[in-house]
């Protein structure tokens, strides 16, 4: 690589990092937070004894998991305006990613709740707890531990998937890279630089996952 390429990589480093800090990371965090709330609701609906509630959640999850994220993103950003609903790029991206995370994480949370032994529910009822209190104080904390590894995977996938938001004009890490690349015609260098930055972010997240798992594992036998 020529010296000018190195210089370009160095010069573009800040715009890319800036894109990550102001685009990729807040987009991933907010979508994940909203998606998790959605997922918990969906998981509880799935587990409900009321058939219709469970069915609604099941259909939702099936649609989200059975259609490409890019298509969901395009439906919201490019499709809805034809129905008179115009949403800006940022909110569109957050809505699409939240809906998507909701679908995937719902199944994770449902499985985690089901993995808590029945005896835990019974002990909670025995000490006089209501269903809701048993869920929040006894079952969910135990389910949380079980769901950390799969939910971390969901989050890491989401961080990478936010690059799709560049296609609906959200300025984030990858869109910054595209712009510098188009301007300088150094596609290989810029896209590899973007890839490297995503990788670094995911490495940091993975180590965070490890620390969190360790913390949550303090009350189980090793």
């Amino acid at each position: 690589m020529s010296e000018s390429t190195w210089q370009l990589l160095l010069d573009s480093l800040w715009p890319l990092i800036h894109g990550a800090i102001t685009g990729t990371i807040p987009l991933a965090l907010s979508s994940f937070a909203i998606g998790l709330v959605l997922a918990l609701g969906l998981a509880l609906m799935r587990l409900s004894r009321r058939r219709w509630l469970s069915s609604i959640a099941q259909v939702y999850i099936s649609i989200v998991r059975g259609t490409p994220l890019l298509v969901q993103l395009f439906v919201i950003f490019y499709g809805l305006p034809s129905l008179g609903i115009v949403i800006d790029p940022w909110p569109s991206a957050i809505v699409a990613f939240s809906i998507n995370v909701g679908g995937y994480a719902a199944e994770v949370i449902r499985a985690a709740i089901l993995s808590v032994p029945k005896g835990q529910w019974e002990a909670a009822y025995m000490i006089g707890m209501s269903h809701r209190r048993a869920l929040t104080r006894i079952i969910l904390p135990q389910a949380a531990r079980v769901s950390v590894p799969p939910l971390s995977n969901t989050f890491i996938s989401l961080v990478k998937d936010t690059s799709l938001a560049s296609l609906i004009l959200v300025t984030e890490l990858f869109r910054e890279a595209q712009q510098v690349a188009a301007f300088s015609q150094q596609f290989m260098a810029l896209y590899l630089e973007a890839a490297l930055l995503y990788w670094v972010i995911c490495l940091v997240l993975s180590s965070g996952q490890g620390a969190l798992e360790k913390r949550l594992d303090r009350y189980v036998a090793h």
């Binding site: 005896g119 019974e122 002990a123 025995m126 000490i127 006089g128 104080r137 009350y219």
Partner: protein
């Protein structure tokens, strides 16, 4: 610590009032009728041992007493620990049609409030320390003052020899220790009646003694208990009455020493024989 004292002004010829009365209790799981019709009464301070083959329904009886199963028919009446303030509560299961939602929440709550269960597999909360396990019910559900509950919980742990384990998590304890915490957790709820579901069945043989000894001490202190057990020797020594359950009915019941030595029914005889001479 100990339940309300025995009323001393009771005339000698009058029987102690029943604290727990079960009439015609029925329960089916699908097509399988587990309880045909169970009648039993437990007086204050009495220890009732339920024995019988597995699948006989004895555990289901116990679970109905704690509202973990909702019976299809029959009634359960339970009196509060102090009958001046705790009027008897009766649940009529026929009216509830075997559905949890059919039983008024408050009534079910009272039943759970007045009974506390010790589980075969302890079922301690793994994400809470020993002390938190004991305090959870009194503080979170019964809304008693934390300081008072903590003092009581520590005293209870002290008496079962586990005060130095107060900040340990259940996985750090042996089975016997976990079960003693399970018993303390039940005691801390200040129930009227203690329910034990095969409390030593999951324990290694050398750990059984500690748990049985503790239950025996509680019996001597006057706690009212219903115990599902396979430990005949223990039932003989601790129980004031033993009931043999088979096929969803109480086949016979009576004084443990008398009944275990000289059972009246053929089925009881066969069961006792199988336990005494397993091979």
């Amino acid at each position: 610590m100990s339940p309300t004292d025995q009323p001393t002004d009771q005339p000698a010829d009058q029987p102690t009032p029943a604290l727990l009365t079960v009439r015609g209790l029925q329960k089916s799981f699908g097509a399988n009728q587990v309880l045909q019709s169970i009648d039993l009464t437990v007086a204050r301070g009495q220890v009732l041992a339920l024995i019988g083959p597995s699948g006989s329904g004895k555990t289901t009886v116990l679970r109905c007493l704690n509202g973990l199963e909702i019976a299809d028919g029959g009634t359960i009446e339970i009196i509060g620990a102090d009958d001046a303030t705790h009027a008897p509560v009766t649940i009529d299961f026929a009216a509830a049609h075997g559905s949890r939602s059919g039983v008024p929440k408050k009534t079910l709550g009272t039943l759970r409030d007045r009974s506390a269960m010790v589980f075969q597999h302890y079922n301690l909360f793994p994400h809470k320390t020993v002390l938190e396990n004991v305090m959870e019910g009194p503080v979170v559900v019964q809304r008693r003052p934390r300081a008072e509950v903590e003092a009581e919980a520590l005293a209870l742990l002290e008496r079962v020899g586990l005060s130095e384990k107060r900040d340990s998590y259940p996985f750090e304890l042996s089975g016997g220790q976990q079960q003693r915490v399970g018993i303390v957790r039940a005691l801390a709820l200040r129930p009227t009646v203690l329910l034990f579901d095969e409390p030593t069945s999951a324990l290694d043989p050398e750990l059984v003694g500690d748990v049985l000894r503790l239950i025996k001490e509680l019996a001597a202190e006057g706690w009212t208990m219903v115990i599902v057990t396979h430990e005949l020797e223990f039932a003989r020594e601790v129980a004031s009455e033993v009931a043999f359950v088979d096929g969803g009915t109480i086949v016979e019941h009576g004084d443990p020493k008398e009944m275990l030595r000289n059972p009246q029914h053929e089925r009881t005889r066969q069961f006792l024989h199988r336990l005494l001479f397993p091979f």
